[in-house]
Subunit: 470 residues, 4 copies
């Protein structure tokens, strides 16, 4: 999962600033690297590095990016790759037919194979980024194709995986969403142009008006203020939007496929309350991502909602955590219970998910010390049982607590009075508007897109080798 | 308002790390500068600079601070002074009788006079910090006094103002709270020592056990693991704890004078609901500080509580805000309405206060655009009508919207359907446990401590002159 | 002109440190970027950036590079390319047959053509560096070749230009010098391995023993402590070592093709004295590069040598020079005359060259103000009349003062009593040991290697386009 | 030893830039910290930090300093004090009668006593800088005095030691030189004002005209473009200019007390040749400071002068030196012999001094390896036998090789064929113009100013204690 954004206007102006605002709006989608490429009549300037938008994009960076008609931006979420500036996006590349800049969200399952094919032609790579492999494929296709649109369509026939990307050429801004629609992508309108964004919240942040989602398999091309759509890969087969976008990834104020994220999380909480009711005095959520579902649980159950935790908002990437022996302090520094909410109460704690159970064990301990009488943990995500090959970095399967343990066992392991997960079959009910189907592979091991190439040992080995450069 | 912290243990160990955790726990009290001083058997090491704890205190800083038996830390809130490293605290000073380090919260009303007195003896100052003036007075008193405790008591007879401070000498950790108790200060216990902290949340963050608040006028001295209390300035006269600590400053999970902050803010919301009820569909709070009172309002009124806003948590000090012409974008980048919560609803928005009305006007516009049908603004603070001389940096009196306008006028000015403030006489009711009285000067212009020296033109002039050095 | 260095040892050890020392020893050859790549049993780590060795290579960089059996380093001299980290060398690339790292000195005349050829196969480039084009060619050749040596020899058949490079593969360290021998390259011996270096001074700096120069056209391969030589491109045709290496580039303590640089510069000064004698009281040199020839001039003429200037050694890259109106100050800050040496004297000033005449005019003014009675300027380089296509960044031809002016005219233009240059036919006489012939194209416009591809407008356009990425 | 500079002009302009140029011109006098204070009609701005001018004073620093009528600058040489930003100068202090900024060169022998006196009045210090003690004394005196001049004269009656300082008040620039004239100080003229500088080279660097040296004991005051001189402490007693200024400290192009430094060092070399002749083939100097005397030795002896060493000019403060076991590499990296100059020759090596003999042993080894047949070391300074209390940081007495060893013993210890020092009685002969006498205490232990207070154990202890703050 990452964040992508593109803007195309008819006049030269401060498009870098819009990409900058979008980088803050989409920051939750990727915190490893970020960057912006600006296009002023075919002249591209790119600035990118490791870090948050606030670290990388300072005044000097914006000054150097300058003005233009188009810009794209990307926030990278680190999955299986070494985080360094060479892997940062956008990938800006001068090729024989022009220049392109590319920012991508998702994961291409057959990336290693595609890379090998290109390398056998002598193509050289400077990163382990799938965005560079994708760029290589686009350029390879562009050698024969009569336009970049054609090259994109040709390339899509070879890609297998979950991908939403924005592509900038000297004249065009192109947005692409994979045929399964695993990752979101939407279109917004400015008074003199368009934006393309991973989520609608960035459309709002740049003062645009939300138009619609890009359809699974659709290619949209914006040129001279006009939007053209290519639907060659769109069809009516069942789609597979990542269910974790609704559960955790997307920002609560975004609307994905017509469904407000906050509202959908409230629904998850309501369904959870129906499926796993328990008599209690207060419902609290684990901040920040458990709060919306907690409120849904409270609403459905009629049990009062309370603010149970204070999360320290100043703890960032550079915080120096306690040594092993004092590890218990860490959670106390990050999270503290609000005693008046939980003392002598039977407490329902709603979290968005339980992965290894370690975090749950810690907040349970805090609640116990603050005087909670009973603690019932409810997860708005179903139990994780397998890994994701489409861009989400879940722990390795063997560490997933639900893979080998029942709810009762987990309750005992983490010190809760009870634990319950949303049944996987309830997931889809939380989504009110017709949507392109949900991918629930991490809960069911039913993979909509064959992940086998990504599992080949060769692929791992290549990536390993490539990690060592800087 | 600032944050102070001190720790004294009997054995040499990583006390800097505890001060470091405390700096994160008290970060909300002061974000201009921060620093730590460590004392290892009388050898002091200090590290401090402009910025948040996360900016200033990196691994190298902690390495250089080393280990010791004692440490103090301070987070500075910038009030009327130029923020630079020379004003950063702790102030560590080698004087003829030893070394001291001092970290202070509050404001000394007669600071300029005290400074002038010292300067007439040839004392030189390197900052415009009141902490340096206080240090100068302590050292002056120490020349005659037989101990630092005696010097502290002697100095208190000359100080007028709101102050809580921690003072470290080669052998002792001393905590002092002014006789009116304007700023909070509390004591915590470690297995082999004590901590002193502005708020109880830092006691928890370092793994300590809360003991009690320091009494107004009390001086506590910790030496060799023993705590001694001097109560020369403690008496039963009405006290004046800053009411804004309950309304806004203190962290929700802290307990001040026996009252949980979250609970007290809930109470403020309940009293507000009783005083200013209105028929509506949902109660929302302005994040983060309006949420607790909003929940109280919802509880009391029976109107459902909702999550109405998404606040972008990545916008920090270095965010490059839009130029004037695009200023409206700024609030949209920082705050977005969650449409499903407010659309077609009659909305009560609870904020902690209304100062100039500009922020309120902005979030009202966002709510309108998100489809709110009616917007009723409720402030859990009474109307501001005058300035604070005790360390809170409220805008200059003439910009305070309530100074010259009624609730009806304000509603029209900011675009709300109605506006109402908590009546000032209700404030005290929110505080359940007996507390040392509340200072409500900014709402009533009744100043418990004569602020006249601070108003003298001389003082301003001196400060102005001193701003120009670096 | 740039500096390259490689080391290959039989045991894992701190080879990065040797490359680090070499980066300082060869710093004079390139000050734009620098970098090191370390190879530990096939795992490559690279660190490089814009700046001097002292800026780029700090403790953290060396720690991250770690230990290994081999390392290469490069100091980049910026010619016609934008200086940024993407152009920094070594170029470390993972290709389908392994990994390579490459550091290059010189200029490939047909680089644009080679790049276009590769791009037409879909190869993508991330820089405007000729080293990346060379890498691309090597990888292309390696696809078919059975070894990297074979790929190198195949690639040399396509390269036209002046190049000396070091190439590191998982098993081998390879050193290559172009068939004309335009740039120097030499071999040194360690107790357990070899080093390859642009100049012998780096061999000394790493504690090695100088073995011999690499022959023009030779390829040397070091593997498992054994050195193998491929001489396919070595022949007896006249060679063309850049004469500017002797005049200016190389370090005085280096020995190139058997000729000590200091001694050769002394010889240039002696020949200059014979060719252009003048009656005077003192001979001074313009520091630092004019000092050696000045001493030769003094020795030959019998006129006493004096220290005429003090050069400020603290003025570096970041010095903020005076604004236009105070430009005259700049030279005074950088260079001051030593009055006692020149006052009331007839002074001969020896410089290594006169390009535009601006610098000469400035130091002449300084000498006049210090009381020099007569000033006779002597240049140990012949007059520049045309540009260099082999890696030296001389000003554009039209700005070369000697292209359109006689010695008399120049003397008048710069305010000297007389000006004289070393006659171009004398150059070769300064070089005592048989050497591979000298390239004097910038003095004669006789280009030993056809530079026409570099002059094609296409090439310039491509480079222009590529400048804009970051 | 440090560098000080002051400028006073009648109109507001870019005086910071002049102080900036001076900081580069005087950089050789102090490389630990540097800083500038600008005075714009009584408003002072100061910028200072640890490092060279090139590190500390960047564009942003100059922008923040802004314009003014006056500025002072200082380059600090670290002697016996911890180098940190709190000790950096200028010391800018707001006192009850105004503001002052002070930059000092030298050492005050009774500094600890003066500090103690002030501390007993309650004065607090934030550094271990003698400049802060001096400031404290000036402010103390200013409380009673009717002007700063009067305060300066009053303070001089209490100071014992070697000091030259510049002092800036809202209206005046004041230059002070101690009655013994141990440290140099001179006056220059601008078209609309004056400069005061440690050395004349900075007068030239800012485009000024040298006027004269400040007399020992003189106080010069510049106000409104007029210079006034106070000579209360000037008298005809024997003076004591530090002889090391002529031998090593001052820049070769400076003129101190009428004597050109380069010329004086030539004279030292000539006297050395007369005192200690030896039959040889070439005379070389150890760069950079041995070169001038070497040329004098060559001139006097008639033996040819040669360039014997190449010094790597890129090795700076941040160079990471080899570990212990490879220590021998270090000298080879810094310094390399030029073989053609010394091979098979009898070599005279002139250095400015021999302290512990370690450096000498190293360059001798290098010369031997380069083939030198005989090596005769000559020192243009007499043998060091005792420490300096006036600001020069010579090693502790027991490490001085000449304190316990004869020339013959030293020759054997360092591996030279012979070693000889300039006889101390010859020193004065090198100085042609009448000068205020020379201090030769480090060669004779005859201290012109009683250094006893500096030897008191109390003083050391206080300084030790103060080292620990940051």
């Amino acid at each position: 999962m990452s964040g992508v954004f593109g803007v195309s206007r008819t006049k030269k102006q401060d498009v870098a600033k819009l990409a900058y605002y979008a980088a803050f709006a989409l920051q939750h989608r990727g915190q490893e690297t970020c960057g912006i490429a600006v296009n002023d009549q075919g002249v591209f300037k790119t600035y990118k590095d490791v870090g948050l938008a606030t670290d990388v994009l300072d005044k000097e960076a914006l000054r150097r990016l300058g003005e233009g008609q188009m810009a794209i931006g990307q926030n990278l979420y680190g999955t299986k790759i070494q985080v360094n500036r060479f892997n940062a996006q956008p990938m800006t590349i001068n090729h024989i037919k022009g220049t392109l800049a590319l920012g991508m969200d998702g994961a291409i399952v057959n990336a290693s194979r595609l890379r090998k094919e290109l390398e056998l032609k002598g193509v050289i790579f400077h990163s382990v980024s799938e965005a560079e492999i994708l760029s290589g494929q686009l350029i390879q296709a562009r050698l024969e194709a009569s336009s970049m649109e054609e090259a994109v369509l040709e390339t899509m026939s070879k890609l297998r995986g979950a991908y939403s990307f924005v592509l900038m050429t000297p004249q065009k801004l192109i947005g692409v969403r994979d045929p399964y629609g695993v990752r979101p992508l939407c279109i917004g309108k400015l008074d003199d142009g368009y934006v393309i964004s991973s989520e609608s919240c960035a459309v709002v942040a740049v003062g645009g008006e939300f138009v619609r989602d890009v359809r699974p398999g659709e290619v949209v091309v914006i040129e001279d203020g006009e939007l053209t759509s290519y639907t060659d890969y769109c069809n009516d087969k069942p789609k597979a939007l990542c269910s974790f976008e609704y559960i955790y990834f997307a920002r609560p104020d975004s609307v994905v496929e017509g469904n407000g994220i906050h509202e959908t999380r409230m629904n998850l909480g309501k369904l959870l309350a129906k499926a796993h009711p328990v008599d209690a005095d207060v419902v609290i959520g684990v901040p920040d991502s458990g709060l919306n579902a907690a409120m849904g649980y409270a609403t459905e159950s009629g049990i009062p909602y309370g603010i149970g935790f204070l999360k320290n908002k100043y703890i960032g990437r550079s915080f120096i955590a306690p040594e092993m022996e004092e590890r218990e302090l860490l959670v106390r520094i990050k999270l503290n219970a609000i005693s008046s909410t939980v003392k002598d109460k039977r407490v329902i704690v709603v979290d968005d998910s339980i992965v290894r159970g370690v975090t749950s064990a810690r907040f349970i301990r805090i609640l116990r010390e603050a005087g909670a009488k009973e603690i019932h943990v409810r997860s708005s995500a179903p139990p994780f049982i397998d890994e994701c090959f489409y861009g989400t970095d879940i722990d390795s399967p063997e560490t997933l607590i639900s893979r080998h343990h029942s709810e009762e066992e987990i309750a005992e392991m983490i010190g809760a009075d009870s634990v319950a997960f949303l049944p996987v079959e309830e997931l889809i009910k939380a989504v009110k508007k017709p949507c392109p189907g949900l991918c629930d592979a991490c809960f069911t091991a039913n993979y909509p897109i064959d992940p086998s190439p990504a599992k080949e040992p060769m692929a791992k080995q290549v990536l390993q080798r490539l990690h060592d450069g800087d």
